[in-house]
Amino acid sequence: MKKKHFLYTLANFSTFMVLAAIVAAPLYFASKFTQVAGVKSQSTYLIISQAEKFPGMKFSQDGTTYSLNLPNSAEAYLAVLILNNPTNQSRTYQIESSDGFFFGDNLDEKLKSISLPAGASVPVSVQSKDNSEVEFSVK
C-alpha cells in the first residue's frame, strides 16, 4: 500500500514536471538560440562604435585603448560608443581617461563607473575641453 502511494506521488510529480518542461521549452529555446559571435571569449565587454553617425569623427583601437578623433574639440558628443556587457553576470565597469569620457549621455551626471546587468548596454559620451584626439580604456 505504501509502495503504491509512493508510486502515485512519483507519477504526479513526474507529470507536473513534464508539463512545466513543455511550457518552459519555447522560452528556454528563445533565450539561448541566438548569440553574438565572440561572446564566449574572455572579453568582459564589447565596444560598439557609433562614430559613423558623427560627420568627421574617426574611431580607432590599439589593444585595449580606444581613440576618437573629434571634429570639434569644444563640443560634447553624446553616445559616440556603446559598451555592452556580453557576459552572463552583472559587472562594474570603469572608464580610465583624462579626456572627458563618461558613461551615459547626461552632461550633468558624468559617470566614471557603472554597474551593468548581464547583456545590458550603456552609451559612452565624451566632452573634451581642448584635445581633438581623445582616448580611453575600460576596466
Binding site: 508539463l19 522560452l27 545590458a120
Partner: protein, 178 residues
C-alpha cells in the same frame, strides 16, 4: 492516479510549444534574409541537439532577436485568438442556435467545442502568451527587445485575457441557471 487535467494540459501544450519554437526560428531566418544579416550556426557542448545562431555584431543580433521575438509573440497571439474565436462563436454551451443549425447542415459540427476541451486549450495558450510577454519584458530591461514591442504585446495579452474572462463569466452564469 495522475489528474486527468494535467494529462490533458500536456496533450494540449505540445503543439503550441512546437509552434512557438518554429516561429522563433522562422522569425530569425526571415529577419536575417530580409535585412541581410550574416550569421553562422554552431553546435553546443551541452544540449548538442540545440544549435546556436551567432551574429557577427551586436546590432545584427538586436535586429534578429527583436523580429524573432515578435514572430514568436504573433504565433502565441494567433493561437490565443483562434481559441477565443472558438470560445465566442463555437462554444458548445452557448453557441447560437442559427449557427449550430448552419454547421449541422454543412456537416461541420466538429467545429463546436466543449468547455472541457476549450478551457484546457485556452489555459495553455494564455500561459504561453503571458510567458512570451514576460520574456519580452525581461529582454526589454536588458535592452535587447525594443520596449514598444513589449508594450504592444502587453496590451494585446491583457485584452485577450479580458475577452476570455468574459467567456468564463458567461459560462459560470449558464451553469448557475441550469
Amino acid at each position: 492516479m495522475v489528474p486527468k487535467t494535467v494529462i490533458k494540459l500536456i496533450d494540449e501544450a505540445i503543439i503550441p510549444a512546437i509552434l512557438l519554437i518554429s516561429a522563433k526560428i522562422f522569425g530569425l531566418i526571415g529577419a536575417s534574409l530580409i535585412f541581410g544579416l550574416p550569421f553562422s550556426i554552431h553546435g553546443r557542448k551541452i544540449l548538442a541537439i540545440l544549435p546556436s545562431v551567432q551574429f557577427a555584431n551586436f546590432q545584427d543580433y538586436i535586429v534578429a532577436e527583436n523580429y524573432s521575438n515578435l514572430a514568436m509573440f504573433i504565433a502565441a497571439a494567433a493561437g490565443t485568438m483562434y481559441i477565443l474565436v472558438k470560445a465566442h462563436f463555437f462554444h458548445e454551451s452557448h453557441i447560437h442556435p442559427k449557427l449550430q443549425a448552419k454547421l449541422a447542415k454543412l456537416n461541420l459540427e466538429s467545429l463546436i467545442t466543449p468547455s472541457y476541451h476549450l478551457y484546457h486549450q485556452a489555459a495553455i495558450w494564455l500561459t504561453f502568451l503571458w510567458l512570451t510577454v514576460a520574456f519580452m519584458f525581461i529582454s526589454s530591461i536588458l535592452k535587447i527587445t525594443y520596449p514598444q514591442i513589449t508594450i504592444i504585446a502587453f496590451i494585446v495579452a491583457a485584452n485577450f485575457s479580458w475577452v476570455f474572462a468574459i467567456d468564463v463569466e458567461k459560462e459560470i452564469e449558464l451553469s448557475r441557471e441550469t
